[in-house]
């Protein structure tokens, strides 16, 4: 009896999963006879099974549903949204009862009768589920597959049996070699060996499952979410037949669900807004899976409003995740990716759908924990595409075996970018404090000795060692230095015991063919333990100077100028990148200038024809003055090596540096600012800032006096206080390190610190003294 019951539970649950997609498809097309039949079969089977298992509630529910469905099949009724919801509600209740049956709980009898009543004909307005979700009919009715159900433990047992067999084979191979066995024995052994290998492959595949298991639940979820929010959504699912490890399927379920809910909740606009924008009334949501090498790529694409980059940036700045200056310099793609920063949610209000306290940062870290990556392709106002990449399987991974401190470790091959011999000419290693930076073909990254991170003592000689460039996260690569690199191997990875996992540097354990246990390194954990900062953290939080920013390696921006020459400039003087229409650039008053907003900036580098109608500009700042430099395109940000050859004469180019073996001209910011930032109208006049901007006396009486005396005059707020040569103030608070002349309207309070404001001679003398001191 118990066997029968558990069989019934397993079967019902399995059919339920497969069915939820069918039922939505059926709603979209009530005349689809094949799907109606599938649903009818399910209800009918439940009814049949529970009759002799003595499950009266199941029987009542399934009986009622079966009646309605057979009316539909006979054409006596037509399916409408209300009816579909009612059938769904019954199927949901059957699912709940199944769960309860398995856990041994009793589900309150409750409103079974109501559910059954809802199925009845002439039911007035059914539950408010007017929003239909249509499923692209590419799935087609399922062909019956020949399969049996196998408990997972049995699979695991077979798997470990095959592993035992592989080890025994290896030992036998060793013995045979030692004995120098005859060729007949050798031939037989080869055959055995091939069989074992094939068997291992086959067993490995038994753990794979079609991603359909995950996708079949999506139509229902999308339907419910879209109904709840009143946003009709067309869902398209592609690639349900892609296979991946069943554990992996479980691990990506939550992140995927989260991203889909986000798309519907925040991405797809309400119906009237879409109409106004000229978009189709129903939002489009496309979820696809495909295999690419040993990765599975899952894409979630919608045609909603995309991510409002400006708002994300504003939020990030407000939350202190990033400074305004850094935000301005970010490329658009990086701006959208700020949604992954911890503590940032773009939803202004928390909704029931996506405001579950789970941020995008959690989604990202969950994906990264299983060795995957997540990227955004944001098209503001046109939609968002989220690309999730995960490895095919967790349990078998391609790994590189390395040794350090006399022990062997495995490094996941997916995390390895390249392998370089320490002795290679491509590598330069610099010491920065007690840390080291490796520069490999112009790319600087922290260098970490595996022995040191693992606390196995210092490395005595760097001779003959190997560097593996590993990627800990999307933007965090570092150089891991090991004693030697051995083999590529496919390893069966199992979780290590809690005490070992708690060290945070291992991702699991494995028994390779050698028969000696080996630990799989967690490259992200090692980065964390070694204190290696990611490049994204490094750019987001300039205050925490990461190891990569040592005194030896200054970051430089590599770009192509309008004449096609590759040049570089120190990144720190680049304030931001900007595209301006070509017509804003004019040759005025003896100098190329560009008008940006209210500002007029001197322009350098405008030596060739810009491509197209827009010109890319680097806006350079020396802290006070600003100039612009026209370029064709930005190539990269690189670590600037020291100048290899200085320019003979002072000019825009300071010298030549070698970047990845190429000669690159390094611009001289000193020369550029000295040449360009001259105000030809008043080259020698000091700038006098009047701090009390709103004071009438200051504006109408003091200002003409100071101007007449030959100074340039600005009111507070018109220019940065730091740019002033002298500040004249009566009341205003000044917190800038500039000479200040204080005025008082009260003759009796005048003293060494304050000057009576009508003391013309004293006032002008004080201004002159201050500017002279500065000059």
């Amino acid at each position: 009896m118990d066997d029968l019951l558990s069989e019934f539970i397993a079967e019902t649950r399995e059919t339920l999963e497969a069915l939820s997609g069918e039922i939505i498809a059926w709603e979209a097309d009530p005349d689809d006879r094949a799907r109606l039949d599938a649903i009818f079969r399910f209800v009918h089977t439940v009814k049949g099974s529970c009759g002799f298992l003595d499950l009266p509630r199941f029987e009542r529910l399934s009986h009622a549903a079966e009646d309605v469905l057979s009316e539909l099949r006979a054409g006596a009724r037509r399916a409408d949204a209300g009816l579909v919801s009612a059938v769904l509600a019954v199927i949901d209740r059957i699912a709940e009862l199944t769960e309860a049956l398995e856990s041994g709980e009793t589900l309150p009898d409750g409103d079974d009768a109501l559910l059954i009543a809802a199925l009845a004909q002439d039911q007035a307005a059914g539950p408010a589920t007017a929003q239909a979700v249509s499923v692209a009919a590419n799935a087609g009715p399922r062909a019956p597959t020949r399969s049996i159900r196998v408990p997972l433990e049995l699979l695991d047992r077979i798997m470990s049996g095959v592993s035992d067999m592989v080890l025994a084979r290896n030992e036998l191979a060793r013995r045979l070699r030692e004995m120098g066995a005859e060729t007949e024995v050798g031939g037989a052994f080869e055959r055995l060996s091939a069989c074992v290998a094939e068997m291992r492959d086959a067993i490995t595949r038994t753990r794979m499952q079609r991603i359909e298991k995950l996708f079949s639940a999506l139509p229902r979820m999308v339907r419910d979410t879209s109904a709840e929010l009143g946003k009709p959504v067309d869902l398209e699912i592609i690639g349900s037949d892609v296979e991946l490890d069943r554990e992996m399927i479980e691990l990506i379920r939550d992140p995927l669900t989260h991203m889909i809910r986000n798309s519907i909740d925040h991405g797809i606009e309400p119906r009237d807004e879409r109409r106004r924008l000229g978009k189709p009334e129903s939002g489009r949501l496309c979820i696809s899976a495909r295999q690419s090498g040993n990765q599975i790529v899952i894409e979630i694409a919608d045609d909603g409003r995309g991510i409002d980059e400006a708002r994300v940036v504003a939020k990030a700045v407000a939350a202190g995740v990033i400074s305004q200056d850094m935000a301005d310099a970010l490329p658009p793609a990086a701006r959208a990716a700020l949604v992954f920063a911890p503590g940032l949610s773009t939803a202004e209000r928390v909704t029931a759908i996506s405001g579950r306290g789970v941020g995008m940062d959690v989604v990202k870290s969950n994906i990264e924990r299983i060795g995957g990556t997540i990227e955004l392709d944001n098209r503001p106002r046109a939609g968002l595409r989220t690309i999730i990449r995960v490895p095919l399987t967790l349990t078998i991974i391609a790994a590189l075996t390395v040794s350090a401190g006399g022990l062997s470790f495995a490094v996941p091959r997916g995390a390895i970018e390249e392998i370089v011999q320490m002795s290679s000419a491509m590598i330069r290693v610099d010491a920065v404090g007690n840390a080291r930076i490796a520069t490999i073909r112009g790319r600087a990254m922290p260098l970490v000795d595996l022995e040191t991170v693992l606390g196995m003592g210092p490395v005595e000689s760097q001779q003959g060692r190997t560097i593996i460039v590993v990627r800990a996260a999307a933007a965090c690569s570092y150089a891991l230095c090991v004693a030697a690199v051995h083999d590529h191997e496919e390893l069966v990875i199992k979780p290590a015991s809690p005490a070992i996992m708690a060290t945070g540097v291992y991702a699991g354990k494995s028994l390779p063919d050698s028969g000696v246990p080996m630990l799989l390194l967690d490259v992200a954990g090692i980065a964390a333990r070694a204190g290696v900062a990611g490049e994204d953290q490094a750019t987001l939080l300039p205050a925490e100077e990461p190891v990569a920013e040592g005194p030896q390696t200054v970051s430089g921006l590599l770009f192509r100028d309008l004449a096609g020459t590759v040049r570089a400039i120190r990144l720190a003087v680049v304030e931001r990148l900007e595209d301006v229409p070509a017509e804003q650039i004019r040759f005025t008053a003896g100098q190329m200038r560009v008008a940006i907003g209210e500002k007029l900036l001197p322009l350098a580098g405008f030596e060739g024809e810009p491509r197209g109608s827009a010109v890319k500009l680097l806006r350079l700042s020396d802290g006070a003055a600003e100039i612009a430099y026209a370029i064709d395109e930005v190539i990269d940000i690189v670590a600037l090596p020291p100048i290899a050859q200085r320019a003979e004469r002072a000019g825009p180019v300071a010298g030549v540096v070698l970047v990845a073996g190429e000669q690159v001209e390094l611009l001289d910011p000193f020369w550029l600012f000295a040449e360009l930032d001259r105000d030809p109208g008043s080259p020698t006049k000091p700038l006098c800032l009047l701090a009390d901007r709103d004071d009438r006396w200051t504006r109408e009486i003091l200002r003409p006096l100071v101007e007449a005396a030959g100074y340039r005059v600005a009111l507070a707020g018109d220019v940065a206080a730091e740019a002033a040569d002298v500040i004249v103030a009566a009341e205003a608070e000044i917190d800038v390190a500039r000479p200040i002349v204080r005025l008082t309207p009260d003759r009796s309070r005048a003293d060494g610190n304050q000057i009576y404001r009508y003391d013309r001679a004293g006032l002008l003398a004080a201004i002159e003294r201050s500017t002279a001191r500065r000059a």
């Binding site: 470990s160 049996g161 592993s163 035992d164 592989v166 080890l167 401190g405 022990l407 062997s408 693992l454 606390g455 196995m456 199992k494 979780p495 290590a496 015991s497 809690p498 005490a499 070992i500 708690a502 060290t503 540097v505 291992y506 354990k509 494995s510 028994l511 028969g515 000696v516 246990p517 080996m518 630990l519």
Partner: protein
């Protein structure tokens, strides 16, 4: 079954472990150390296709480890992970009819943490140990 115990010694102290918790008693070969693991984790060792986490019982009790001539371990399965407990000597499995008695003496903290009770066997007093608590390791620093 309830009354069957595996009898061994840890730091010369006779101990007992309920036999139903023990999968096997084997000699193992080389132990691969695990850098950064807590001190009581001696390393990993292979037993056929299984990888065992080897736990040094003396260190788990906060005692100084003793030199060992061979590595005989008690294999236990805790929460799906296989552990090998390194003990001093291993006698045999014995049936002890008497119920375990509460411990009425004051033990060192390490022993107190892992002991479930006392057993009388052939005039000797055995401490009944809980493998799960041994595997959890000691929170206190090693006794000097």
């Amino acid at each position: 079954m309830e009354r069957l115990y595996l009898i061994a010694t840890i730091a010369d102290q006779p101990v007992a472990i309920r036999a139903e918790l023990v999968e096997s008693v084997v000699d193992i070969g080389a132990i691969s150390p695990v850098p950064l693991a807590p001190p009581h984790v001696a390393g990993l060792a292979a037993l056929r296709s299984k990888v065992l986490t080897i736990v040094c019982c003396e260190r788990a009790l906060g005692l100084a480890p003793r030199p060992r001539t061979r590595s005989r371990i008690v294999v236990v399965d805790i929460d799906g992970h296989h552990y090998g407990l390194l003990v001093g000597t291993i006698e045999d499995a014995r049936v002890i009819e008497a119920d375990p008695q509460p411990i009425r003496v004051r033990l060192e903290p390490g022993w107190a943490r892992v002991s479930l009770g006392m057993l009388e066997y052939e005039g000797e007093t055995l401490l009944l140990l809980d493998p799960e608590r041994i595997v959890a390791g000691c929170d206190e620093p090693l006794a000097a």
